[in-house]
């Protein structure tokens, strides 16, 4: 499933620093909640990973060791060690280990280039971490937690329903 256009269009005009601030918040709270990620990444935690959602006009580059994150508008040529490209919902599902990356790759839904060892380490580290975006985001949203969690969960349910349909 791809993001509907009305949802995507505004991203083209939102200033990059605003997107960056929002995503940075998510990223650093994830890292805080899942320290095991670093242990699994081992030497690969210093690598730069680019995530390029095929249905968004932006690219995210993260470096776990420095909790560093930057956002670039497409077309971008990010300085990254490894790049993964695919629909946003699949990238998020991967983050949570809800989809099997290999299966997505075999089906050509995902494309990966660059340092494959780093990418594999990240994939495995994420998969081992039991990230739960609605729960994790809710935890960092203070008094708004229940609302954030519920909304995120509703979105995820819809997205995953789409994925499962595609699997069968």
């Amino acid at each position: 499933m791809e993001l509907p256009r009305p949802l995507v269009a505004p991203l083209a005009v939102v200033p990059i620093p605003l997107i960056e601030m929002a995503v940075k918040h998510v990223f650093s709270s994830l890292l805080k909640r899942h320290p095991a990620l670093f242990e699994r990444l081992a030497e690969h935690k210093v690598k730069r990973y680019a995530f390029s959602p095929a249905d968004l006009p932006v690219v995210f580059v993260v470096q776990p060791s420095g909790a560093a994150l930057s956002v670039m508008r497409k077309p971008a040529d990010p300085a990254a060690d490894a790049v993964v490209e695919g629909p946003l919902f699949q990238l998020l599902a991967l983050l949570e280990g809800r989809c099997d990356a290999d299966a997505l790759f075999f089906s050509r839904s995902l494309s990966v280039t660059g340092d494959m060892e780093a990418m594999l380490a990240l994939r495995n580290a994420l998969d081992g971490c039991e990230i739960d975006l609605p729960r994790d985001l809710g935890a960092s949203a203070g008094p708004l937690a229940p609302l954030v969690s519920r909304t995120a969960e509703a979105i995820r349910r819809r997205a995953l329903a789409g994925e499962n349909a595609a699997w069968n």
């Binding site: 699994r40 690969h44 099997d100 290999d102 050509r108 280039t113 060892e117 495995n124 081992g128």
Partner: protein
């Protein structure tokens, strides 16, 4: 028959147990096991917790120490065996004679399984391992047909475990140096085959080109399902023709043969895939559990959905079917 399931992380381990595994197999985060991939596998602490989790839910834990000890560095393997025994592993899965001898001598009560990497493919070989090291179970190489297995079962003095689903080695396991020929890293010595450190994907026009070390392993046109750049599943040129010289990018699925396997004397069915994610483990284990418990005529419908999770999105019954040879 028992269902033996893979886990590369504690998260996958719990999924496997919760999805109906009778036993879960896993390894330490180093070269002592044949899935020595970055970001994968268990620390000592994680293994201890996993074994406890499995126990509470009535499942067993098998620890794979199934690479060959690097000369002069045997301590790494001996320590891994000591720790697995101490943490309460229900069985150790071993391939190296030196390590088998060490375990049989040092921990005579410890249950020892023969890894597929040991390449015990006939009755004399299996009985040797039973007599020499007290092996209780052998994981058979993926080179035998079901009738070969039935014949073997009548002549050996230990349990039989066979692979039924997942990645398919085309070559006799534990006897393949294709990976190290191209990359310097092998399953036997380093616990990796066609390692990610030597893999490169390149886009060439609409094609996806996969490379391993200095060699092109495959080229997938735009709409074609892709595969790992595993050497034995690459596309090569022989004389003037291009094609899959050894095997297509397919994976093994013989779940439609489980009655025949049971009749052949198989005690345990093994799922490959410690390197796959927890979503895969949950999906495959729960489906195969249902299939095992279902009536034969219900199985096909249950199993059909697994195809999409497979390499190349296709499956084969491999050597279990004679014509594969």
């Amino acid at each position: 028959m028992e269902l033996i399931c893979p886990a590369g992380t504690p998260a996958a381990f719990r999924e496997a147990v919760d999805s109906g595994a009778d036993a879960v197999y896993c390894g330490f985060r180093d070269e002592t096991n044949a899935r020595n991939f970055p970001g994968l596998n268990f620390s000592r602490e994680e293994l201890g917790e996993a074994i406890g989790y499995a126990r509470r839910k009535g499942a067993q834990t098998f620890v794979a120490l199934n690479t060959f000890m690097r000369a002069g560095h045997e301590r790494l393997w001996y320590q891994a065996a000591a720790d697995a025994v101490r943490l309460g592993a229900d069985a150790l899965i071993l391939a190296d004679f030196g390590l088998m001898a060490h375990v049989a001598e040092t921990y005579p009560e410890q249950r020892l399984h023969v890894s597929v990497q040991a390449s015990a493919s006939n009755p004399d070989a299996v009985n040797f391992l039973v007599e020499a090291f007290g092996a209780k179970r052998v994981v058979l190489p993926r080179t035998l047909t079901i009738s070969d297995i039935a014949r073997l079962a009548g002549q050996i003095r230990c349990e039989i475990e066979v692979f039924v689903f997942g990645g398919l080695c085309v070559m006799a396991e534990g006897r393949c140096a294709l990976s190290s020929y191209a990359t310097g890293k092998s399953p036997n010595m380093n616990g990796v085959c066609s390692p990610a450190s030597h893999v490169r994907y390149r886009h060439d026009g609409g094609d996806l080109v996969s490379e391993l070390g200095a060699y092109t392993i495959n080229r997938f046109p735009r709409e074609e399902a892709a595969g790992y750049p595993t050497l034995c599943k690459g596309r090569f040129d022989i004389a003037d023709a291009s094609g899959y010289a050894f095997e297509d990018p397919v994976s093994l699925d013989v779940m439609d043969q489980i009655d025949a396997l049971r009749e052949a004397g198989v005690s345990a069915l093994k799922i490959e895939g410690r390197q796959r994610g927890k979503a895969y483990v949950a999906e495959v284990v729960s489906t195969l559990r249902k299939a095992l418990d279902a009536r034969p005529e219900e199985r096909q419908a249950l199993l059909a959905r697994l195809k999409l999770l497979s390499e190349g999105q296709r499956t084969t019954s491999g050597a279990y079917e004679k014509r594969w040879r």
